[in-house]
Structure formats: structure tokens, C-alpha cells
């Protein structure tokens, strides 16, 4: 009972401090707006049974290709005469949800490995963490590219590739916080009361190691979105004609001197999203940092 009360006040306290950082709040608003857009487009697809998507998002109008921004098409038309504004909106879901899911997946796997390594120490710790070091030694983008190249290009494979490449980061973060938590008195108390290792790890250690993980995850989503865009740019991610920012950017590359809007708009989309996630992540880190408590 008292634990629950304290939890609530911890989050309330964090929120109070987060709110003071105006930039971080703007970032959060942008992310929320993107979620709303993503969900709205999914709902539209479900309600119209993809008819709207087929008739407006992937429908080509070759005779009007490369047309600049106008009243009817505020972001202009792309190299196949498709409306860039609609394609930007429909692309949000891939970047955002795939980024979030990939990170969620690696947070879960990474936390389990990190917690086990940190809690048991010794040989277990060494085996797990050396394996993570090996994964970390390979640049994450290279690792993801290799995985997609090996498994073939599909949404799920891209997700798996990115998730795997982020696992070691989270495993390290969690292990570090577990190491600081596991010698606390309340853990000793739990042990003395005969709690199982499983209960101790998941009930007491992990919830108390959450703060750095949340920050890391927010920043990780930004990295994952960039990776998805990067893979798509290389032709390994989401396949045409499905709209995705990275592939939009890639296919617009050769028209950079003919239609500025083709590259600038998806580029801005990626930039704003990443920036929003980063400022939000920074805000969260400051808000969750106990040393900055006031």
C-alpha cells in the first residue's frame, strides 16, 4: 500500500520536473501527434478496406510527375505523380511503430540478459556480457544490414534485425543498474524472507532499474527509426510502393536537382521525428535523474 503511494509520487515528481523543460514537452507533443497520425491512417485503411490507400496513396499519375507544391497537393507530387503529403502520413506508422516495437523487443530481451548477468555475476555474467561485447563490436547498422541480407527483405526481418542490434545496449544498461540495486537492504530483506531469484529480479530489481532504461529506450527508438530509414534507403527495408521515409528519400535522390520537395520533405520528416525523440529523451533523463532532484 505504501509502496504504491510512493510509486505514484515518484512518477508525479518526474512529470513535474519534465514539464519544466519546454523543449522536451514540444518533443513529446510531436511524438504524440505522430502516434495520432499513424493510428488515424490505420483506421482509415481498415474502414475503407484499403480503398483510400489504393486510390490516393499508391495510385500513380505519371503525367503529373515531379509537380511542385500546390493548393491541391501541399507537398507536391513525387516521381510517379503520387501525393507526397499523403505518402508522408502513411509512412509514419512504419517508422514509428517499427521503431517502437523493435526497441520494445530489444528492451525485453536485453533486460532479461542484463538482469541475469548482473544478479548472478561470476561465470554467468562473463558468458553473457562477453557475448554482448561481441555483438557490440559490430556496428549496429552493419549488423542489421547483414541480418536482413541473410534473412531476406520483409517487415518482420527488418524488425528482428534492428531489435537484435540493440539488445547489447540494453543488456549493459540494465546490468549496470542491477549491480547498484542488488546490494540494497530491501533486496537482502527479500532474500531473507525466502523470495525466489525470479521474484527478486522481476519484482524488486527490474522495477528499480527502470529509470535509465526508459531514457535509453527513448533514444533507442530514435536510433531504430534512423536504422529503418537507412535500411530502406539501401533497398533492404520496406519495399515499394509502400511509402516509407527512407525509401522515399532514396528514390528521390536522382531528382534532387529537378524537384527539391522530393528529398527535402521526407528528410525533414525523419529529422523532426528524431529531434523530437532526442529532446524528449534528454528531458526524461534530466527528470529521472535523482541527483537533479529539487
Amino acid at each position: 500500500m505504501s509502496l504504491a503511494a510512493q510509486k505514484r509520487s515518484l512518477w508525479a515528481e518526474t512529470w513535474r520536473r519534465f514539464r519544466k523543460n519546454k523543449l522536451a514537452v514540444v518533443g513529446m507533443c510531436i511524438i504524440i501527434a505522430l502516434f495520432v497520425i499513424a493510428i488515424t491512417t490505420i483506421v482509415i485503411d481498415l474502414v475503407t478496406d484499403k480503398a483510400f490507400y489504393n486510390d490516393h496513396v499508391i495510385k500513380q499519375n505519371l503525367r503529373l510527375r515531379l509537380q511542385g507544391p500546390s493548393k491541391d497537393h501541399i507537398f507536391g507530387l513525387d516521381e510517379f505523380g503520387r501525393d507526397i503529403f499523403l505518402r508522408m502520413l502513411w509512412a509514419v506508422r512504419y517508422s514509428l511503430f517499427m521503431g517502437v516495437f523493435a526497441i520494445l523487443f530489444s528492451v525485453i530481451i536485453g533486460s532479461i540478459f542484463g538482469a541475469i548477468a548482473g544478479y548472478y555475476g561470476k561465470v554467468t555474467d562473463n558468458v553473457i556480457m562477453r557475448f554482448m561485447d561481441i555483438l557490440l563490436a559490430i556496428p549496429s547498422m552493419l549488423l542489421a544490414t547483414a541480418i536482413v541480407a541473410a534473412l531476406g527483405t520483409s517487415l518482420v526481418n527488418v524488425l528482428i534485425a534492428i531489435a537484435i542490434s540493440y539488445v547489447p545496449t540494453f543488456a549493459r544498461t540494465v546490468r549496470a543498474s542491477v549491480l547498484t540495486v542488488k546490494d540494497q537492504e530491501y533486496i537482502e530483506a527479500a532474500k531473507a524472507l525466502g523470495a525466489s531469484d525470479f521474484r527478486i529480479i522481476f519484482k524488486y530489481i527490474l522495477p528499480n532499474s527502470m529509470a535509465p532504461l526508459i531514457v535509453q529506450a527513448t533514444l533507442g527508438v530514435a536510433g531504430a527509426i534512423l536504422s529503418i530509414a537507412g535500411l530502406s534507403f539501401l533497398g533492404l527495408g520496406i519495399q515499394p510502393p509502400t511509402p516509407e521515409w527512407g525509401s522515399m528519400l532514396s528514390s528521390a535522390r536522382s531528382y534532387i536537382r529537378d524537384g527539391w520537395h522530393l528529398t527535402v520533405i521526407p528528410g525533414l520528416g525523419i529529422m523532426i521525428t528524431i529531434l523530437a525523440l532526442n529532446v524528449m529523451g534528454d528531458g526524461l533523463r534530466d527528470a529521472l535523474d535523482p541527483r537533479l532532484k529539487n
Binding site: 489504393n54 499508391i58 495510385k59 500513380q60 505519371l62 503525367r63 510527375r65 516521381e79 510517379f80 505523380g81 527483405t153 533497398g235 519495399q239 515499394p240 510502393p241 528514390s251 535522390r253 536522382s254 531528382y255 534532387i256 536537382r257 529537378d258
Partner: protein, 510 residues
């Protein structure tokens, strides 16, 4: 101490700028108001300087200045003209005798004799990369120092044209037999330019061969620069970094033609781009389905838009400039009729399939536009982009539904294309990736291949073109153009329809 360091650093920076300026390729003018160096840019480096190995266009565009062939083809008339062979006669259906120019020397001073010709042709036949161009040859015999006789397995009408392809280059026997790999890095031929240096993935330098039989080339030095990004080649041309740039982006071509100090050269190429249907797979084994898909493609719209208005709608696998071309009538665009055909074929609701293409952006764009045209007749087609090696090996194995291919008729003779792409003996690697196995096609291809009567050949190719259009195993889409941009100061540049541009008669004004 710190001051000294700063001063030193500044010195380094200034020094490096000065050095960068000094390393520029431009050298001073030569007599007559012409530059002594032509710099041209292309998208890829030479794969191998060995003419019997490096068959890719960027390689040949350089090596064809170093090596000569027995005979050549006149660009305008299409006639066979002498090169290393001064004259020749056809003794019977399967025997040709060549008389070699006397007094020819390779760049290293070796005399070019009949022995070198025999050695070179035998070497070409033994080379897996290019043997297909010379494997019609049965034996090459040396009659005397300046006479060779070539006999073929069977009558082969395009023989002389094949011998004019740069892969049939003549190389020095003593030099090459001493070290079979030497041509890869230190090429020696008898062509208008000598090899000077190669810095991999950057540039190649050539120098005029002053003893060339047809007279010394007009410009002393030739420099090839590798600039992989196509947009970057246009920029290099605009800034004057290069004199000639090959293979510009379609969107940049307009920019070059509009620029006051630049000239765009654009000629019909010998390439045809086409969709191959894998006839070993359902539903592509059904002629109605193939015809329906072909009918769903608005070729004129593709030419006008995706291809930027350049090129022409294709109606056969060989381009109009090729010997043996016949126009069987343009392919109809009629989505309604296409749907009707699908219904007759038993697919009233369409089907799902894939279209494979290699990772070349212009090709991928074509496929995306075609994908949308297929969607309009109810076909759910996925475009899969493959790396070139995988694309070739997997389509060779017949794993594809449909593939988007390009084919250049390098010999300018229809046999080269029809035999490789349509004859049942050429399934898979050799080029027949529709896996066509049709007795009538084989018969017509063979008449075209072996008949020595040119009119009979033309008649066979005419009948073949009409038959293939109905068979629809391939759907020809577009004949592309080949372009190059050059500064207005460039004189005498004549683009080659295959991309093997020759620069020995080109000059650049100061």
C-alpha cells in the same frame, strides 16, 4: 611555442590547397589551339584490361583504344571495313581467309603477324567470359606470316560482325604467353592508344601510339575518370572538370542540352528492355496471361514520363538499327481487353506474382510504374529488387516469375539476340530466361543463323518477329537511347550505339 604550432598548421593547410591545385590534370596547351589531353568520365572502372575478360561496357570503352580487331564495322553504313586484316575473302560457306596488314607493330615493338591472330582467337575461344562471341570458329590456321584461315563448325552468317566485336581483340603472343595474366594490369595491343597508368577506382591514363597504322590519334593524352554517381558526372561536366561525360541521368540530359556551353549527344542505342515471363511457371505458361500482361503496359506513357521522353516504344527484342529487325506492329495497350483475356485464361480476379529487377534505379522505377499498370487489371505484383549477381544467378536457375532485363545486340546482328534469348538450347545462363522451347522458333532462328543468303535471313527474322509477338514469351518495353554530354569545345565526338565510344579523332579546343 603555441604560436609556432598555429603558424605551422596554417602552413600545412595552405600547402595542401596549393598541392591540390597542382595535381590537377590540366596541362598547358599544345600547338593548333587544341588541348593535349581529353578527360572523360564514366560510371564504373575498367573491370579487366584483358580484352578477353573485361567485357563490361566501361571496360571496353577504355580498352578498345588499346586493342584492335581483325575487322571493324562502319558506324553509318553497317558495312564491314578492314582493320588489322587489310582484306579477306570467303572461300566457301565455312571458310574465311584474312590478309593481315604488313608492318603492324604492337605497342611493345613486337611485329603483329598471323601467329598473333591465331593465338588471340584461340585465347578468346578458351575464355569463358567471352567465348560465346567467337565459339562459331572451328579452327584458325596460319598459312604464312600474313595470312590466316578461319573455318567454322557450320555456316555462320554473322561471322565477320562477331570478329569486329572488341572482345575478339588481337593481342601479342610472345608477351602474353610469357605471363598469361599480364594483360590485366599491363595491357599491350596495336590500337591507337598505349596504356600508361591505372589507379584503381579513380582513373586510367593512355597516350597516343605514334606508329598507329591509320595515323596518330589527334589528341596526345586520354584520361578516363571514374565518377560513379551519375548526377556527379553532370556536375563535373558543368564545372569543366571533364570534357566528356558518358551515360548521364535522363533528368540531367535535359539540363545539359539546355546549357549554353555544353552539348548533349543522344543516339538510339542497340538496347531493348523487356519483361521475361518464366514459362516454366504457372500462370505464365498460359499464352493468354502473357498477352494480357503485355497488353496492360502503356509503353508510350513509360517512354514519355518515367523515361523522360527519350527512347522509343519497343516492338521486338532487337532495336531498329540492328540487321534483321522487323516491326511486327506496336504492342496494343488495352487494359479492358487485358482483363477480358485474363478471364478467358481462368483468372477473372487476377493473381499475385513478383517482378524481379536488379538494383539499378532507372530500371526499378520502370518496374514500379509497370507494377501499377498491372494493378489496374487486377494483378497483385510485387517488385523485388535484387543485387545484380543474385539477379542473374537466380533468374538463370529459373526462380523468377517475371524479370526485367536489358539486352544489347553487340554485334548489330539479330542472330546475337534471337539465338541467345529464344533458342531452346540457350535456356538459363546463355540468356533464354523465359525458358522458351518452341520448335518453330528454333527453326527460324537456325535459318537466320546459318543461311548465307541475306534475304532469306531477313525473311526468317520477319516471320520470327511476328511469331514471337503472338507467343509473348517476352514483352519488349522500350528501346533506350544512349547519351553523353560534352563541352562545346569538343570536336569530332561520335557516340557509339553500344557505348564503346572511340576518341582517337576527338579534339578539345582551348
Amino acid at each position: 611555442m603555441k604560436k609556432h604550432l598555429v603558424f605551422f598548421l596554417i602552413l600545412i593547410v595552405i600547402g595542401s590547397f596549393a598541392f591540390a591545385g597542382g595535381s590537377s590534370e590540366r596541362s598547358s596547351s599544345s600547338e593548333g589551339g587544341y588541348k593535349d589531353t581529353i578527360i572523360f568520365a564514366q560510371g564504373a572502372d575498367v573491370t579487366s584490361f584483358d580484352p578477353h575478360v573485361g567485357k563490361e561496357t566501361p571496360a571496353v570503352a577504355v580498352t578498345n583504344h588499346i586493342y584492335d580487331t581483325l575487322v571493324d564495322v562502319n558506324q553509318e553504313t553497317g558495312e564491314i571495313i578492314p582493320q588489322i586484316a587489310q582484306s579477306w575473302e570467303q572461300i566457301d560457306d565455312t571458310t574465311y581467309r584474312f590478309h593481315i596488314r604488313e608492318g603492324l607493330k604492337f605497342h611493345n615493338g613486337e611485329d603483329l603477324t598471323a601467329e598473333d591472330v591465331k593465338f588471340s582467337l584461340d585465347r578468346a575461344i578458351a575464355s569463358p567470359s567471352i567465348s560465346y562471341i567467337v565459339d562459331f570458329i572451328d579452327t584458325v590456321t596460319v598459312d604464312d606470316d600474313y595470312t590466316v584461315t578461319v573455318t567454322t563448325d557450320a555456316p555462320y552468317a554473322p561471322a565477320l560482325r562477331n570478329l569486329a566485336v572488341p572482345f575478339a581483340a588481337i593481342v601479342p603472343m610472345d608477351y602474353v604467353s610469357a605471363n598469361p595474366d599480364i594483360l590485366k594490369t599491363a595491357p599491350v595491343g596495336s590500337g591507337p592508344y598505349k596504356f600508361v597508368s591505372w589507379s584503381q577506382n579513380d582513373s586510367v591514363k593512355l597516350e597516343a601510339y605514334d606508329e598507329y597504322y591509320a595515323g596518330e590519334p589527334k589528341t596526345k593524352n586520354l584520361v578516363m575518370k571514374v565518377i560513379p554517381e551519375a548526377a556527379q558526372r553532370t556536375i563535373a561536366l558543368e564545372t569543366g572538370e571533364v570534357d566528356i561525360a558518358y551515360d548521364l541521368l535522363r533528368s540531367d540530359a535535359r539540363r545539359v542540352s539546355e546549357a549554353r556551353d555544353l552539348t548533349l549527344y543522344e543516339i538510339p542505342s542497340l538496347s531493348c528492355y523487356y519483361i521475361t515471363f518464366n514459362m516454366n511457371k504457372a500462370p505464365f505458361d498460359n499464352k493468354l496471361v502473357r498477352q494480357a500482361l503485355s497488353m496492360a503496359i502503356d509503353r508510350q506513357l513509360l517512354v514519355d514520363t518515367v523515361n523522360g521522353g527519350s527512347g522509343e516504344v519497343a516492338n521486338a527484342l532487337v532495336a531498329p538499327a540492328v540487321f534483321g529487325y522487323y516491326n511486327p506492329g506496336d504492342y496494343e495497350y488495352n487494359p479492358e481487353k487485358a482483363k477480358q483475356l485474363l478471364k478467358e485464361a481462368g483468372y477473372p480476379n487476377g493473381f499475385s506474382c513478383t517482378l524481379w529487377v536488379n538494383n539499378n534505379q532507372e530500371r526499378v522505377e520502370m518496374c514500379q510504374a509497370i507494377q501499377e499498370m498491372f494493378r489496374e487489371i487486377g494483378i497483385d505484383c510485387r517488385v523485388e529488387v535484387l543485387e545484380f549477381g543474385a539477379f542473374i544467378s537466380r533468374t538463370t536457375a529459373g526462380e523468377h516469375d517475371m524479370g526485367y532485363f536489358g539486352w544489347v545486340t553487340s554485334t548489330k546482328d539479330a542472330d546475337y539476340t534471337y539465338y541467345s534469348l529464344e533458342h531452346s538450347s540457350q535456356q538459363g545462363a546463355a540468356g533464354n530466361r523465359s525458358f522458351t522451347n518452341d520448335a518453330k522458333v528454333d527453326e527460324l532462328v537456325e535459318i537466320g543463323r546459318t543461311s548465307s543468303d541475306q534475304d532469306a535471313r531477313l525473311e526468317a527474322y520477319k516471320e520470327l518477329a511476328i511469331y514471337l509477338k503472338d507467343l509473348s514469351n517476352n514483352a519488349p518495353i522500350i528501346y533506350t537511347t544512349l547519351n553523353a554530354g560534352a563541352s562545346n569545345k569538343v570536336e569530332g565526338f561520335e557516340p557509339d550505339p553500344i557505348g564503346y565510344h572511340k576518341l582517337e579523332n576527338v579534339q578539345v579546343r582551348n
